[in-house]
């Protein structure tokens, strides 16, 4: 157990420096990269806040789509196992298992939730898809 500031607080201190002191004083490509860097720190912050819950939910969804296996206990092992099972799911898709029918619906539902979880971390604003103007 570390002393405060927490990881979140440390990250926020650097984001704050980038946003309020560096970005306004920089120009051109340096300003652009400082913005990108601040955004990367916010991604890290959101990932830390959501990771445990997202990994658990993804594991349970994969259980419903593939043969169930024992859930690894450490985070690293869980990530590796999710990757391996996602490879298995990709292989099933390539074989045509999700071309139609209830399995397709189930796969689509899983992927929508998985990609939503990725966007919650990488770019939450992207999740809402506005109506297009016509005419």
């Amino acid at each position: 157990m570390q002393d405060r500031p927490t990881i979140q607080e440390l990250l926020q201190s650097v984001s704050h420096l980038l946003d309020t002191e560096l970005v306004p004083t920089l120009s051109g490509s340096h300003q652009f990269y400082a913005r990108v860097a601040a955004n990367v720190l916010r991604i890290v912050e959101r990932e830390l806040a959501n990771e445990e819950e997202q990994l658990s939910a993804e594991w349970l969804r994969l259980d419903a789509l593939l043969d169930t296996t024992e859930r690894p206990t450490t985070r690293d092992a869980l990530q590796q196992a999710i990757r391996k099972r996602t490879e298995e799911l990709s292989e099933r898709i390539r074989q045509g298992a999700a071309d139609a029918g209830p399995y397709r619906e189930q796969v689509l539902q899983h992927l929508k939730e998985t990609i939503r979880d990725k966007l919650v971390v990488s770019n939450p604003k992207w999740i809402k898809r506005p109506e297009e103007e016509t005419g």
Partner: protein, 354 residues
């Protein structure tokens, strides 16, 4: 002394001198007259992209009688050992030259380079304008431009698709292989790229490749496709479109490919309710395209290519982050883009089901 980034071992004033010598020779040959001097001024690097370097400079041409003329020019060259040269420099030059000849609103090409800079290059006109979409959306100076650009973009694209490729030395352009439709060709190209490069499984992309193969449009007429016709590659000013840039992804294919690509959500830059580049409606853009080019727009086919476009941009995001993952390039921009594939996957999941 500053080194010129990526043109190896050439300090910037040496680069300016070599450029001046090259221009003096080239102008003298082209105009069948001798220039007394050529001075290269204000040489500076505009963008050092992964696959191209773009330099801006002024050339002062001095004739023997002392008369001078100043030209605003661009130098396009390769970074040495760039990740993958998508198109040979001389082919890109020939594409731009053909588009210019046919009046398709591109910078005037001046000269294809020789070996005098140690890397392939060409020289073209420098057109003044802006390319950053968010400026176009926000600044009052572009109020009129925003109104007329959807129509202009439709009209210009129709003109590009009418370029008679066979009239020009463009046989080296990528084109569908024998027995493959334009759509099959593009799917195969990006599927190969995806499978050789992706390090993590992407089941959404796998689903999309299958969906596209199961929804192939009937084969179409084959035209010169720009390949990257979108906001960011379109130069504009307060009076609208000034120039179409970045021809290095041009190829022979289905004209509807370009119409789908410009609707990909990533090119709306936050103006998501306006499908054509964050600027206009599909109807306004497609009407202008039809009226100018006499090509009917098939909205179903455009939709197919928009879905393909999302898949293609997803694969490109994964590809762009590779040099970072390999440790060849520490750029935070290349790092961040690895997380952007999810945006295209979100679009794919919704568009496939629509």
């Amino acid at each position: 002394m500053t080194n010129s980034p990526n043109i190896p071992n050439i300090p910037i004033d040496e680069l300016a001198r070599r450029l001046a010598d090259f221009l003096k020779r080239s102008f003298s040959t082209a105009q069948e007259k001798t220039l007394q001097h050529v001075h290269v001024q204000e040489l500076r690097l505009l963008t050092g992209g992964a696959s191209r370097l773009t330099w801006s400079f002024d050339a002062v041409l001095e004739e023997p009688d002392g008369q001078t003329q100043t030209l605003a020019l661009i130098l396009r060259s390769d970074p040495p050992g760039g990740p993958q040269a998508v198109m040979e420099r001389d082919l890109e030059y020939r594409v731009i030259a053909a588009a210019y000849d046919e009046g398709a609103l591109v910078p005037q090409p001046y000269f294809l380079g020789d070996d005098s800079l140690g890397a392939p290059f060409f020289i073209m006109e420098r057109i003044e304008g802006e390319t950053i979409p968010r400026r176009l959306f926000r600044e009052a100076a572009y109020d009129d431009a925003r109104q007329i650009m959807p129509q202009q973009l439709g009209k210009i694209l129709a003109k590009i698709h009418r370029i008679p490729v066979e009239k020009y030395p463009l046989a080296d352009l990528l084109a569908p292989q024998q027995g493959r439709s334009a759509a099959e060709e593009e799917i195969a190209r990006y599927e190969d790229k995806y499978h050789t490069m992706a390090r993590e499984p992407h089941p959404t992309l796998e689903l999309a490749f299958r969906w596209l193969r199961q929804h192939l449009p009937a084969d179409s007429s084959r035209v010169l496709v720009h390949g990257d016709y979108r906001m960011g590659n379109i130069m504009f000013a307060s009076d609208g479109v000034r120039s179409i840039l970045d021809w290095e992804l041009a190829h022979i294919g289905d004209p509807m490919e370009d119409l789908g690509w410009i609707c990909v959500r990533s090119w709306r830059f936050g103006q998501d309710h306006l499908p054509v580049g964050g600027l206009g409606t599909r109807a306004a853009f497609q009407r202008a395209y039809e009226q100018a080019g006499d090509y009917p727009v098939d909205p179903e086919r455009v939709r197919f290519w928009e879905i393909f476009g999302n898949l293609r941009w997803g694969v490109i995001c994964l590809n762009m982050t590779q040099p970072f993952l390999d440790g060849q390039n520490q750029s935070v921009e290349l790092a961040a883009i690895g997380r952007r594939a999810a945006e295209t996957e979100w679009e794919l999941l919704h568009l496939m089901e629509a």
